[in-house]
């Protein structure tokens, strides 16, 4: 097989799977709880900065994972308690509040780290011979990890008790309470899982992109478009949305320019908003 085609194909798989894992946190919070967390991108940013801090402290790269989980977990808990919980019935105010949060997190990052770009070293540098071509090891690893996380979470959600309780809480909150589910605590836990997933995505991605305070904006928009196109509330929606958005972006960016890729994604999302607002995998 032509190595160029293989490389492009793997690039496509890479784009789709990383997009899926980056959108996963928002899929949990927006898709399940119905809260549009505009600060989702900033939690990804926090993960990336944690990776940078880990590198500066000369710790092994994997130490960034527990660090991110702690920071995003505590922050997620605080945000849910102060900002999200009082505003569950006011979606517009939640939007404004999370936008304010995203601003705050960005400004804090700016104050601590400055506006400059940081580079995080790739923990597994080099390439490997894969399917007739040389491909970076780290990216292959990311593909594998992304797929494991997404598929693992989906299986857990569908099969476990907690997953069933979350589904119960979402589809029929009154009955869930009647059966003794503390909807408040379960919703808070779900939110925290969403922010931690975002942070993990940031840790994974950090070696491959410039780490700077504004990095999150791009990702929250892409994640949002993935959910609009794919549909909220299901794994199939997340994956199909990631496939379409990731695919279109990759192909258009490779053949034309990154700006055109972005434009194509935007146009596609608006079209979906008109013609199929519930997404490819419409969930009632």
């Amino acid at each position: 097989m032509d190595p160029l085609i293989v490389t492009q194909a793997i690039n496509l798989v890479y784009a789709v799977s990383t997009l899926a894992v980056l959108a996963l946190g928002l899929a949990v919070i927006f898709g399940l709880l119905g809260v549009l967390n505009i600060a989702h991108g900033e939690f990804i940013m926090i993960g990336a900065y944690c990776a940078y801090v880990t590198q500066s402290g000369r710790w092994p790269y994997l130490a960034a994972v527990p660090l991110t989980l702690i920071v995003c977990g505590v922050l997620g808990w605080a945000v849910e308690w102060i900002m999200i919980r009082p505003l569950y019935r006011r979606p517009f105010d939640t939007l404004v509040a999370t936008w304010g949060l995203s601003l705050l997190l960005r400004k804090i990052a700016e104050a601590i780290f400055g506006l400059g770009f940081y580079s995080v070293n790739i923990p597994l540098p080099g390439t490997v011979h894969f399917l007739d071509t040389e491909y970076p090891i780290y990216r292959l690893l990311l593909i594998a990890v992304s797929l494991i996380i997404v598929i693992g979470l989906v299986i857990w959600y569908g099969g476990s008790r907690t997953g069933s309780r979350i589904r119960a809480m979402i589809s029929n909150p009154e009955l869930a309470q009647a059966q003794g589910i503390s909807v408040r605590r379960l919703a808070a836990g779900t939110f925290i899982v969403g922010t931690c997933l975002a942070g993990l995505g940031g840790v994974m991605l950090a070696p491959l992109i410039p780490v700077q305070p504004f990095m999150g904006l791009d990702y929250v928009l892409r994640a949002f478009f993935v959910l609009i196109v794919g549909g909220l509330g299901s794994a199939a929606g997340l994956l199909s949305g990631a496939a379409v958005i990731g695919g279109v972006d990759s192909v258009v960016s490779a053949t034309s320019s990154a700006t055109d890729g972005y434009f194509a994604v935007l146009v596609l999302s608006i079209l979906f908003l008109w013609l199929r607002p519930r997404g490819i995998v419409a969930h009632s």
Binding site: L36, I38, M83, P86, P91, F92, D93, L95, V96, A97, W99, G100, L101, L103, L104, R106, K107, I108, E110, A111, F214, L217, D218, L221, F224, F225, I228, S257, A258, T259, Y262, F263, L266, S269, I270, L273, W274, P277, S284
Partner: protein, 573 residues
């Protein structure tokens, strides 16, 4: 008028009070303030949040800058082109609004994200399109406005632009459209049920905000001499939102005060106080969560002093645009489903063009769903609905209302934050005001003979300035009923008009319903559980059960019907 004169005086006096350096700063920030007023219009009035407002500001700036450069020898052309570019921004904003505000339901988050995306896209284009925009370093060497020399001159041009923007906004806020924006921010569905196309209203609001940003942008280019991608980008968009929130987004001057105070302070303090921006972000969150009126909220006593106290005489409203005769409402075997559940099952109802009819039935029988289907809020999968021989199936709610259908909802849905007078005015505009008339502030003084009669019966309806939210539950029911009557509908749908009312209030409502039946001459269809009410009012009773018609007839006939009894009492199977 008092307020306006005061503002103009202050605007003129400022450079003398503050000196040339501040005059220059304020000249710049006045242009940003113009864009911020637009944000205030969208967010504080119409209830949606534009996160990419700099797009319109920067677009106008780039266009203006390019023209000034191209016509450096004949600057008069560039000057004449300025208003055109502001209008270009307005049209672009309007087009985006029309494209995005198409969903029937909640479109807030989608709109905000799309405006954010557009602003980022614009930034990318501005940065990469080197040949036209000068790329990352910007469009340089823009000549200044002809005939202006020192800093104060520049200031006066900006101040004039800002005053124009404030005049436009002030006029829109006192016009009917301003009232409708505030109403739709509180309860969009209710505004649609009064016959207004809310998607268009929102798109228009966004278009006007684009105009305001454009006015600021066209002057920005020659004033600053350079336009960089920052002018279209995310940072400025974010700042506009912050300034308008902190200043007080719901008021006319709030965004201006926010921009001038916070904006210029930030420029000074950003370098000296490292955590200034973090502080601003916290401040923003606190204001949004706890103190939405912003800085302007602190000046309430002053605002009261400045408010004009003159009472203007009332104006007689014109007749309804659609003065059609009473019509027969017929539902032909309609079916409504929600997923697997059948809500309405081959329901066929036929209502005479005049009279009072009651619809009763057990919980879940589909009564309110039937009303929702008639008003166009619930799609029917089978069957059709005719009004006066004309099909209304598939029409959007505001169109159905325009054909002469009015509703009083189950839960009182008056506009809580608007005054009683404004609530009643919205009802009067429904079906009577053309789109252009919505820009005419005189419409706020409309009255009709029916309104005067209602105000005689219920004096509280004449206390114009009281907020509807201050009324008791019973009074809100009556206000909403009055609003439905004022649209002089051919078919009036009342959903449990006496829910939660005391016996005296219930008697009052019965009285109004009878009086309305005579006055309007159309059909009044009432969903009720209270059998004493049904006995008093109904000429014909329709009993629904499991989404279909179980029985129809006079009250006595229904009471004697075995099938009806079985459904209400339950029996052995």
């Amino acid at each position: 008028m008092r307020t306006a004169s005061l503002i103009v005086l202050i605007a003129i006096a400022l450079p003398f009070l503050l000196g040339p350096f501040w005059a220059y700063q304020l000249g710049l920030y006045a242009l940003y303030a113009a864009a911020a007023v637009g944000v205030g219009l969208c967010w504080g009035r119409a209830g949606f949040l534009p996160l990419g407002q700099a797009l319109f500001f920067g677009l106008a700036a780039y266009l203006s800058g390019l023209t000034f450069i191209a016509f450096a020898d004949l600057p008069i052309i560039a000057v004449l082109a300025m208003p055109i570019f502001a209008i270009v921004s307005a049209l672009l904003a309007y087009a985006i609004g029309v494209l995005v505000f198409r969903r029937r339901g909640e479109s807030g988050p989608y709109f905000s994200m799309i405006t954010l995306a557009l602003s980022l896209l614009a930034f990318q284009i501005a940065t990469s399109w080197n040949s036209v925009t000068g790329g990352f370093n910007g469009l340089k060497g823009i000549p200044g406005l002809p005939g202006l020399n020192d800093f104060s001159d520049v200031y006066y041009v900006s101040a004039a632009a800002l005053l124009i923007v404030l005049a436009i906004a002030g006029w829109l806020y006192t016009a009917p459209i301003g009232v409708l924006w505030r109403a739709l921010a509180q309860n969009e569905r209710r505004v649609q049920l009064f016959g207004f196309d809310t998607n268009q209203l929102k798109a228009f609001a966004f278009g006007m905000s684009g105009l305001m940003a454009g006015i600021g942008g066209v002057i920005y280019a020659p004033q600053q001499g350079i336009v960089t991608p920052q002018a279209v980008g995310f940072g400025l968009s974010a700042d506009l939102v912050i300034w308008s929130a902190v200043g007080g987004r719901g008021s006319l001057l709030g965004p201006v005060i926010g921009t001038l105070l916070v904006g210029s302070l930030t420029a000074q303090l950003r370098d000296t106080l490292p955590f200034w921006e973090v502080l601003m972000a916290v401040f923003f969150i606190v204001i949004v969560l706890v103190f939405p009126r912003g800085i302007v909220g602190l000046a309430d006593p002053l605002a009261r002093f400045l408010r004009s106290r003159r009472k203007h005489p009332a104006i007689a409203a014109p007749k309804r645009l659609n003065s059609d005769p009473p019509a027969r409402l017929v539902l032909n075997s309609i079916g409504v489903r929600a997923g697997e559940f059948t809500i309405l099952d081959r329901l066929s109802l036929d209502f005479d063009p005049t009279g009072i009819f009651c619809v009763i039935g057990p919980n879940g029988a589909g009564k309110t769903s039937m009303f929702n289907a008639v008003s166009g809020e619930l799609a029917t999968v089978t069957g059709s609905i005719d009004l006066g021989g004309m099909s209304v199936s598939g029409l959007t709610p505001h169109r159905v209302t325009r054909l002469g259908v009015a509703r009083k909802l189950q839960i009182p849905s008056v506009f809580q934050h608007l005054s009683i007078a404004d609530n009643l005015a919205i009802a009067l505009w429904s079906g009577r005001a053309s789109k252009l008339q919505l820009l005419d502030p005189r419409l706020r003084r409309w009255t009709t003979p029916m309104l005067e009669d209602l105000q005689k019966r219920y004096p509280f309806l004449a206390s114009a300035e009281r907020k509807a939210g201050e009324l008791s539950h019973g009074e809100q029911q009556i206000l909403e009923l009055a609003m439905a009557l004022l649209t002089e509908p051919r078919v009036l749908l009342l959903d449990e008009p006496c829910a939660g009312l005391s016996p005296e209030e219930t008697t009052a409502v019965i009285g109004i319903v009878r009086w309305a039946a005579q006055r309007l001459g159309g059909a009044i269809i009432v969903i009720e559980h209270d059998m004493s009410l049904v006995k008093e009012l109904a000429e014909v009773v329709y009993v629904l059960h499991n989404g279909t018609l179980l029985a129809k007839g006079s009250v006595a006939a229904i009471q004697a019907d075995a099938a009806v009894r079985a459904v209400y009492v339950g029996g052995e199977k």
